[in-house]
């Protein structure tokens, strides 16, 4: 059957729903992820007239929103997801909160009950704009069908501009059905991003020139400015740290790279921050997982903080020089007249720290993750869930390019990795999208295996690190709760992951010891099509280095305490008190 061409849709047949698709198509939206339902049916009906937009039917709205996030994170373009009213819309909530925390440009379209039913507790009615108010950059209820294109265009602009984020557009069913008498609109221009004032750049340069122990910290806000940041760092010969969200914004192969900071950061990064006399940060928000105890974060440093969002500057860390700017503009301005640092003592110190914090070489999750990430090609996308496997991947993977590492950083969403990897794989069918997940998180969105099959997606490689536990919670219970392993054991009821994959027609491999691992990885990666590799590992390993919550970065535990020693968590009682005190102090 041939579909009528959207551009030739006679205006008299236009409805709100058709105007929505026409607007999305005009904005270059080629793929949307969604799940239909009663209150969004007119939109799905109108979809059949717009073959230029591909709709991907997931098996759960959470899968759709994470897939849209994966698409957006990999491409930097807007990700779009659609759900019906009520439960469909509320199933998007986790993904919207995730996108808000990690600044993912996302457009969520939800159906709602007809206007005259709104506020009457109608079937499948939920106040989704009220619910998502704190977890979206902005949201709308469309009350006039003629305004739909304007609202969608504005929503896309808001989502993508400045500090990106999710925007939700809620469309009552009768607005979708109504005759459209408005005008279709063109995409709105991207507003200019703020550039730094020359005197601020001069001041930053002065601070840098006087530094004896300088450090550059790069966050997720610099993913779009990787080239400029790299040039800046190299021009000054600045030792460079990339945060969890910033991984890939500076090439890991560069000898200036010190790794990731924070709770599971590298010894070099955490000590460098603690000793630095000038710390310049680009596009980061000094999350508590990065800073450790705030009052002892970079205690000797003059902090220069470059961020697009004025509200982030000085929010957590005292800032000596605030630079409100787009990362690329500021990096370019600071690269001019760079004077490369020649600080042999600082370098020698950094080099010594870099040798510390080794992972165990015995069979376990670290070995499995190391071997998987060792096979990554520079273009490969790596996504993760949240927990031990995520921190190991962040510690061990070496990214050369931005937007290749997609992880849930701010919200820490279990179940993110697989659907996000799926969305990224659809955005870039030519590259491998490697998903590392735990046995816990994978089961939160495992039903999306059906989506792999349905669309014959051939470039998603799932690796489940199966330690039969919610490993990170277990690690905290071991360290902070005297080994009371409360409700973290999954091993008695985990499915046979290979059978699960097989049930969806996905090929699977399993490795249970280091001898099996290499050949299993080879088979898994070389298989022509998506595949699932389950690596069965023991549960006793933790992730180290580790900065206990409430401790300073320099108080990190560098390597895993010996299991044979009687259990004694170093100073943790005291550190837990510190947490309580900090919390009190904040109140």
């Amino acid at each position: 059957m041939t579909q009528p061409d959207a551009q030739q849709q006679p205006m008299q047949d236009m409805t709100g729903a058709k105007a929505l698709w026409a607007t999305l198509a005009a904005h270059g939206v080629s793929t949307v992820f969604g799940y239909p339902g009663g209150a969004i049916m007119p939109v799905y009906d109108a979809l059949t007239f717009y073959p230029e937009v591909r709709h991907v039917l997931t098996r759960h709205e959470q899968g759709a929103v994470h897939a849209a996030e994966g698409w957006a994170k990999a491409t930097g373009e807007i990700g779009v997801c659609i759900a019906t009213s009520g439960p469909g819309a509320t199933n998007l909530v986790t993904g919207l909160a995730d996108a808000m925390m990690d600044n993912v440009p996302l457009l969520a379209i939800t159906g709602n009950v007809a206007r005259h039913l709104m506020g009457t507790d109608a079937f499948q009615e939920a106040d989704i704009t009220g619910i998502t108010l704190p977890i979206t950059k902005h949201n709308y209820v469309v009350t006039d069908p003629d305004e739909l294109p304007m609202i969608v265009a504005e929503a896309i602009r808001i989502a993508r501009s400045g500090r990106p984020g999710p925007v939700l557009v809620d469309i009552p069913k009768d607005v979708q059905l109504a005759a459209f008498g408005g005008e279709l609109v063109r995409p709105q221009a991207h507003p200019e991003t703020p550039a730094p004032r020359p005197e601020v750049i001069r001041a930053a340069r002065e601070l840098l020139l006087g530094a004896k122990k300088p450090v550059l910290m790069v966050g997720g806000g610099a993913q779009g400015a990787a080239r400029e940041i790299t040039e800046f760092a190299r021009a000054w010969q600045l030792p460079t740290i990339t945060t969890l969200m910033g991984l890939g914004a500076f090439p890991a192969s560069d000898p200036l790279w010190l790794g990731m900071p924070g709770m599971h950061g590298s010894v070099a990064a955490n000590h460098a921050i603690s000793q630095a006399d000038v710390l310049i940060g680009f596009g980061l928000r000094f999350d508590d997982r990065v800073t450790g105890r705030v009052k002892d974060f970079a205690p000797q440093a003059q902090v220069i903080h470059v961020d697009l969002d004025a509200a982030e500057i000085g929010k957590i860390v005292r800032t000596h020089l605030p630079v409100r700017s787009d990362a690329a503009h500021a990096a370019r301005a600071l690269t001019e007249d760079a004077v490369p640092f020649d600080l042999p003592e600082w370098r020698a110190q950094l080099a010594e720290w870099r040798t510390r914090g080794e992972h165990p070489t015995t069979w376990g999750a670290a070995q499995a993750v190391r071997q998987v990430v060792a096979r990554l090609r520079p273009d490969d996308i790596l996504t993760t869930d949240v927990g031990q496997h995520q921190m190991l991947a962040a510690q061990l993977a070496r990214f050369e390019k931005p937007r290749r590492w997609l992880t849930s950083g701010g919200l820490g969403t279990m179940g993110f990795g697989f659907p996000a990897g799926l969305g990224a794989a659809m955005a870039e069918p030519g590259v491998r999208s490697i998903v590392i997940a735990g046995d816990g998180g994978f089961q939160m969105t495992a039903q999306e295996l059906a989506t792999l099959t349905k669309y014959d997606i051939r470039n998603v490689k799932i690796c489940i690190i199966n330690n039969s536990y919610l490993g990170m919670v277990r690690q905290w219970q071991e360290l902070f709760h005297e080994k009371r392993y409360s409700e973290v054991y999954l091993g008695d009821s985990n499915p046979d992951f290979l059978k699960l994959a097989d049930a969806y027609n996905i090929k699977g491999w399993r490795a249970e010891n280091s001898g099996d691992l290499e050949s299993a990885i080879d088979a898994w990666l070389s298989h022509d099509g998506s595949g699932l590799l389950e690596v069965v590992v023991p549960n006793e390993h933790g992730v180290f280095p580790m900065v206990p919550a409430g401790a300073a970065l320099y108080e990190m535990i560098e390597t895993e305490p010996l299991k044979t020693a009687p259990h004694k968590a170093p100073d943790l009682g005291e550190k837990m008190n510190v947490v309580a005190e900090e919390q009190e102090a904040r109140q």
């Binding site: 704009t129 009220g130 108010l133 704190p134 950059k137 902005h138 209820v141 305004e147 304007m150 609202i151 265009a153 504005e154 602009r157 808001i158 501009s161 400045g162 609109v185 709105q188 221009a189 991207h190 507003p191 200019e192 991003t193 703020p194 730094p196 004032r197 601020v200 969002d309 004025a310 509200a311 500057i313 000085g314 929010k315 605030p322 630079v323 409100r324």
Partner: protein
Amino acid sequence: MTSPVQPVPDHLVSALVRDEPRVLTRITSLFGRRGYNIKSLSVGTTEMPGVSRMTFVVSGERGVVEQAMKQLDKLHDVVKIIDHSLEKYVDRELVLVKVRVENSERRIEIRQMAEDFRARIVDVGRHALTFEVTGDEGKITAFIEQMRPFGILETMRTGRIALTRGSNADIASHIYHDGQTETLEPVYSSAPREGKAREVNNLF
């Protein structure tokens, strides 16, 4: 270490906001979830259709209030934030105070006191008088304190409202753009908002 408890200072902040559904919810929800303390909030329309003005009294240390203003400024519906501590302003508050009248002697005393404050009687009851007082916070607080011994039955305050002094006009300079009002008139403005939002609080 014991230090005397410092009173938390009040800050007077105004915001120009688009008249959009839920704009008040957005703002109060933001204050609530980030733990900022609103002491009073008054909202009213302005001379510009589609634009409302809000005046907040926010209590907190300077840094906290600055953070609150920056977060507020990120809301799409917020057009401009005016930090009144940065410029001279006039502020007023209106309060209705219902005072118990025990007997005619008291009535005379109360009316005398009210006259000193230039408070207007807006309702007369057999056992109560209701006054309207307008003024700055100091005057209103003083009036209430003076009335307290007679027995205050109930009060209602509007919360403070403020405008900058002189000929500076927040709306004219920031919303009328290039002599035109088009930046706000279409509710879904096509003009980029980022960047031209507000300069007052941009310290960088």
